[in-house]
């Protein structure tokens, strides 16, 4: 089954290349944070516009769906002539474009889940529409938004690896190293290290987001009744 020549897993390789592994992990985290951060900055206002002005809804969801369908590697290459091959800008535009559909859809679902009573109560208390949005609707939409951020983060952590094929890629570099090392016999160690670190990173990020949600949205804790549960469970299950 396994080829001869090199051991299946070599601890000494890990020790010798520890610095590089940490640097790859760092880049992976950085690319992910930038993508999800920019994705949020674009998605939330887009979702608010689509929610307030109904005629914008269809263009916004169609545009984000189209971006989501374009394969990541293809988008890296298609952007090349404009933003440059092998640049961070190219990688980030592609990564951000994947988060948009997930984040817009979840923010929109969250805003739609706000009970009319809450909105009317805010108006009765003299809130302007803008103030009501910031103080009432968006906070009530947060559980949905967090569900979206969790899905987007895990998705991006998986996709960042692909950008290794255009020379970035964080932990994806380790897969490239492993495959190239196979010229003089298979080299499983870098691939296994990259694989394990990716999965652990996704799990840790997801856990941190769950904890952050508990801090920011204390009322969304499991067991509390509320109109948001059904949708969140559904979105979460599909995550």
């Amino acid at each position: 089954m396994l080829a001869t020549g090199r051991p299946f897993f070599s601890w000494s390789w890990v020790q010798q290349n520890w610095g590089q592994i940490v640097a790859d992990l760092d880049q992976h985290i950085e690319l992910t944070l930038i993508a999800v951060g920019i994705g949020l900055v674009i998605s939330v206002p887009l979702a608010v516009v689509a929610w307030r002005y109904r005629r914008w809804r269809s263009p916004v969801t169609t545009a984000t769906s189209v971006l989501y369908v374009i394969p990541s590697l293809a988008l890296f290459v298609i952007l090349g002539p404009v933003t440059g091959y092998f640049t961070i800008t190219t990688a980030e535009i592609a990564l951000v474009s994947y988060t948009l559909l997930i984040l817009v859809r979840n923010t929109l679902a969250g805003l739609e889940s706000v009970p009319d009573d809450a909105r009317e109560a805010a108006r009765a208390m003299g809130y302007t529409p803008g103030r009501s949005l910031v103080r009432v609707e968006l906070p009530l939409a947060l559980p949905y938004l967090f569900a979206g951020i969790r899905v987007a983060t895990v998705t991006v952590i998986g996709l960042v690896s692909v950008s290794a094929l255009i020379g970035l890629g964080g932990l994806g570099q380790l897969f490239v190293t492993g495959l190239q090392g196979s010229d003089d016999g298979p080299f499983y160690t870098p691939i296994l290290v990259g694989l394990v670190l990716s999965v652990v990173l996704a799990a840790v990020a997801d856990l941190l987001l769950v904890l952050a949600e508990r801090l920011v949205v204390p009322w969304s804790r499991a067991g509390s009744p509320g109109p948001t549960r059904g949708g969140r469970v559904r979105t979460g299950a599909a995550a």
């Binding site: 089954m1 396994l2 080829a3 769906s65 189209v66 369908v69 374009i70 394969p71 990541s72 590697l73 293809a74 988008l75 290459v77 298609i78 090349g80 002539p81 091959y85 559909l101 997930i102 859809r105 979840n106 679902a109 899905v151 895990v154 998705t155 952590i157 998986g158 690896s161 692909v162 290794a164 094929l165 255009i166 932990l171 994806g172 897969f175 490239v176 492993g178 495959l179 196979s182 298979p186 080299f187 499983y188 691939i191 296994l192 990259g194 694989l195 990716s198 999965v199 996704a202 799990a203 949708g231 559904r234 979105t235 299950a237 599909a238 995550a239």
Partner: protein, 239 residues
């Protein structure tokens, strides 16, 4: 403009439409791989999801395993399988690409099938049993038809992801549309890489549109007429 002219020239060059590296042949290789993967994932993921949904047993394990599988970068599995000699040399890289993509394709189908089965009203299930249906008949005549729109959404999501990711298979020496992208990148033939990317993006878009139509046709008319809410919940489940 010069660049786009070159791309147009690439598409209208006769030799790019002929032989083992022609567009029709590589398109067929992508289609063959994608169909095999999605069909297998539908049997495995749909089967497990239906079993968990019908019996209610093992559901937490099934859904959690599916979610964990999503965190595995496909590039990692591809490179890993590509350096296991007994796998990588089979069928010109087909086996390695097939196995890695099946792992990618199962989770959306599994979770959507499970969610679809669970969404079936308990009353419907009880009524079917009360009419003397066996467990198998309840599944086949009541649960499966009602869950079909969800399952369709899962298959659609999977198929889009598989077509998009099939480009990576070229990295482990399986020849398909990704070959244009990766050999173009490697030889700094940006026109070829760009043209290949356009082809893959168009194919993914086509799959999204066609399977969207199929999914709509699978949805029983009353649910379709129910309009936005049901549909968006379903699509949300798919992402």
């Amino acid at each position: 403009m010069h660049f786009l002219n070159a791309v147009f020239h690439w598409f209208t060059t006769a030799s790019n439409w002929e032989g083992a590296n022609g567009i029709p042949e590589l398109l067929w290789q992508t289609a063959k791989l994608s169909i095999a993967v999605v069909a297998s994932a539908t049997i495995i993921g749909g089967g497990l999801g239906a079993l968990a949904g019908h019996t209610g047993r093992g559901s937490i394990a099934a859904v959690n395993a599916a979610n964990a599988a999503r965190a595995i970068p496909t590039l990692a599995l591809l490179t890993l399988l590509a350096i296991v000699p007994s796998i990588s040399i089979r069928y010109g890289g087909f086996l390695a690409a097939y196995l890695a993509l099946v792992v990618l394709a199962i989770p959306p189908i599994l979770t959507n099938t499970y969610v679809g089965m669970r969404e079936v009203d308990a009353d419907v299930r009880e009524a079917a049993s009360a009419m003397g249906m066996t467990g198998w008949q309840v599944f086949k005549r009541a649960e499966l038809p009602l869950a079909l729109p969800f399952i369709g959404a899962g298959i659609r999501t999977s198929a889009i992801e598989v077509v998009a990711t099939s480009t990576l298979a070229a990295y482990v020496s399986y020849s398909d549309l990704g070959t244009y992208v990766l050999s173009g990148l490697a030889s700094q033939d940006n026109v070829e890489a760009f043209s290949g990317s356009i082809l893959v993006a168009l194919l993914a878009g086509l799959v999204a549109v066609v399977l969207g139509r199929v999914q709509r046709a699978l949805t029983p008319a009353p649910l379709r007429a129910g309009g936005g809410a049901g549909t968006s919940a379903r699509v949300r489940a798919a992402v």
